[in-house]
Symmetry: C2
Subunit: 323 residues, 2 copies
């Protein structure tokens, strides 16, 4: 896994992957007490940065292998990213999803053309289900984060951040990334090491699922106690990856940990001040910038809003936090 793979993924994505805008609002700056810029990955195809990794993986695959189809495990965003990338490459996708994934994500994944196989998180072994289908049909597994081509795709977000920060005249910043398995965080960290070496990347996570923060603090991989039960479903993973963690450990600053209430408030402020829709897991970085300023040294913060696939009911809970 290296910078050249990110640059190659960027080249393969030209004209396909959206260059998402870097947004800001004086109202958010005032709340945070510093300048806040938001990389709106909720506006990426399929509504999250995961399309970057999906496109990178599919476009980087041997065409004969790709033609047999791909398979992925995902609670939703990786599923949609891989499915659309597969469709655009005229091949098929099987997606193994937990039964309790947000309805909108399951439905969208099907509507984009995937064959969705649902499993029960508590009683069934998704790896066994997936391996059986993959073997029977000759499908290639596209892992959600611990896979170099996927990390390379997510890293293209970092290349864009470096470009856009330069356009805004930003010379020093902390870059806070919503962190699940660490694909986005490690990809951005590698990209910025090269293109904006004065920037420090830090992962953000929800309380109770702060495996990255604890792993960085310990210098070794730590697991989460629970594997479900967060509204931040998009970024709940068992632990940082074997490929992503060493990169994060070398390049990232300390993790930031926010409450679900902070996430809902950040979603509401993104609605009101930036006119974008972000999901709880995509709001952890903004929540950290807005409500944990005392843990951030830099006077400029760039946050990723990693996704916007949220059920109406959850979004209404966020809106209810406005006054």
């Amino acid at each position: 896994m290296n910078l050249e793979m990110i640059r190659a993924a960027y080249a393969r994505g030209q004209g396909v992957v959206r260059r998402t805008p870097l947004l800001s609002s004086p109202f958010l700056d005032e709340i945070a007490g510093k300048r806040v810029f938001l990389k709106a990955e909720c506006l990426q195809h399929t509504g999250s940065f995961k399309f970057r990794g999906g496109w990178s993986a599919l476009s980087g695959m041997d065409p004969e292998v790709r033609a047999k189809g791909v398979i992925a495990f995902s609670s939703g965003n990786h599923a949609q990213g891989v499915t659309l990338a597969a469709k655009m490459h005229d091949t098929s996708a099987v997606i193994i999803m937990p039964k309790d994934a947000p309805r909108v994500k399951i439905e969208n994944t099907k509507a984009l053309g995937a064959e969705v196989v649902l499993y029960d998180r508590a009683s069934e072994d998704r790896d066994a289900i997936g391996a059986k289908i993959a073997n029977e049909r000759g499908l290639t597994l596209v892992k959600p984060y611990d896979e170099p081509f996927v990390i390379a795709g997510q890293g293209t977000c970092g290349l864009e951040i470096a470009e856009q920060a330069a356009e805004e005249g930003i010379e020093h910043a902390e870059v806070i990334a919503c962190c699940g398995g660490g694909g986005l965080t490690s990809g951005i960290a590698l990209a910025l090491e090269a293109d904006a070496p004065s920037f420090k990347v830090r992962p953000a996570e929800p309380e109770g699922f702060d495996d990255a923060a604890r792993s960085l603090s310990a210098g070794t991989i730590k697991r989460n106690a629970a594997l479900s039960g967060s509204i931040c479903d998009a970024i709940v993973t068992p632990q940082p990856g074997d490929i992503t963690f060493p990169i994060m450990n070398r390049l990232c600053g300390a993790g930031l940990v926010v409450s679900e209430g902070d996430c809902l408030k950040a979603m509401a402020l993104a609605f009101e001040r930036l006119r974008i829709v972000i999901e709880p897991g995509g709001a952890v970085a903004l929540a950290a910038a807005l409500f944990h300023g005392q843990e951030i040294e830099a006077d400029t913060v760039i946050v990723t809003a990693s996704g916007g696939n949220v059920d109406k009911a959850v979004f209404e809970r966020a809106l209810a936090t406005l006054e």
Copy 2:
């Protein structure tokens, strides 16, 4: 009013005015039965295209005149655009707003630094109030649409549409613009006449406030019967402008007219499929594309989402239309 003024406004806005993204979703294409692209002006500074006109007017003003301050009439979006542009030019803004403007727009305008003067639409003469203040203080009036520098600023949205459509490989399209007084519609029409002459621009309006559609049909300016009472507050104006109408009459196709219910549904679909927040007046063009396809010949439609400054309560009404 001519193309060169639009190109000059574009040059003055470089590095300041946001190049808003052109978004799309296969789900919206399916509903419309054609390809739909959305120019997300809700992501412009202050949450609407009006910042383009405000910036153009302020940046094009004689510095000594500008230093004395500006004044504007607005239900909210023009107010915020002019106020932020004034602030960025280190001058002051007085904004005359109707008392029944959305609360979020009044509060934001004040918070951005304007002196807000409220008036009663039914009983008070806003022109008289404005003229008195302007004369007393030597302020320059920035009209919301019937002003060449403002139209030039709105027209920069059209230059971007032409560029982005070319990037997407779009050769023929109908471009549907949310239309109040016609500043955005006429500005886009002038820009596309030069840079994408195969595109046809059409205004979209809410039922009961379809002055542009009736004026285009008659070939002469027609007034609205009512001046308030629409959730599409941003685009309720008495009639097309004396400068904007001749441009629209020369260049635009027939107007499209949508119901408030269509607007709310379009807002909900923009939430769900594009992850953006649009206000009712900013949703009329998308509503026309999605629900009035039988009135649209082209197989590709580009709509403006002109603004996203919406009170929570109205947005919740839109969300309630989802299933």
